[in-house]
């Protein structure tokens, strides 16, 4: 079965600091990769996704992620965080084909707190 690990449970940063959230997955086949964000009191929203092609993907609000196939990683980055980035971030993967196509496997989430 697939699994997803997020290395940091809680990250605290000051505004303008750089952010990198780690995500590793275990699966032998081709995967699609996602980062979702959940702002306080809101529902899960897609931040960015990787299906194929350029392993460096750009998402909304200045976020980007890099897929490194050899490391089974899909780390999220932002060069300068803002107070409004305070939220919980979830890495997720699903199989690109096969019997489990579609179902998302999520990491445990990383709570990001940004101090103004």
């Amino acid at each position: 079965a697939q699994s997803v690990s997020q290395h940091n449970h809680h990250v605290i940063l000051s505004e303008a600091a750089s952010l990198e959230l780690g995500c590793n997955y275990s699966y032998g086949g081709t995967v699609n990769l996602f980062w979702y964000v959940q702002y306080p009191g809101q529902h899960l929203q897609l931040l960015l996704k990787y299906f194929s092609g350029d392993p460096l993907v750009k998402g909304i609000k200045g976020f980007e992620a890099e897929f490194i196939k050899s490391k089974f990683s899909f780390n999220l980055r932002k060069p300068s965080v803002q107070w409004s980035d305070t939220a919980e971030y979830f890495c997720a993967v699903n199989a690109a084909r096969g019997s489990t196509l579609g179902r998302l496997y999520f990491g445990r989430g990383t709570q990001l707190t940004v101090w103004p």
Partner: protein, 113 residues
């Protein structure tokens, strides 16, 4: 257009009662998913519907859990004889096709007393 909607937003029930949770997916989305978000377990897959195919029920935690999707649109998740460990936020998501990104609803917070 409208997003995924779920009802009720909150449900408090007594242990042993049955509950029904509803999901309205985005119009035209063929795939519909149920997930559960709880403090101890994170986000877990429960069940997946794709068109007219048999649903993937492999994530349902027990036979007290069941789900239907009528007419390829609205879905209902039913939990029979609720237990306290069923307390969680139940999320519904839909996607145009199984391989596409999933759009999530606001969830139903279930509390079993």
């Amino acid at each position: 257009g409208a997003g995924v909607s779920q009802s009720p937003s909150n449900k408090v029930t007594e242990k042993g009662k049955d509950v029904e949770l509803r999901c309205d997916p985005i119009s035209g989305h063929t795939a519909l998913y149920w997930y559960r978000q709880s403090l101890g377990q994170g986000l877990e897959f429960l069940i997946y519907f794709q068109g007219n195919s048999a649903p993937d029920k492999s994530g349902l935690p027990s036979d007290r859990f069941s789900a239907e999707r009528t007419g390829g649109s609205v879905s209902t998740l039913t939990i029979q004889r609720t237990q306290q460990e069923d307390s969680a936020v139940y999320l519904c998501a839909s996607s145009r096709l199984p391989k596409d990104e999933q759009f999530f609803g606001p969830g139903t917070r279930l509390t079993v007393l």
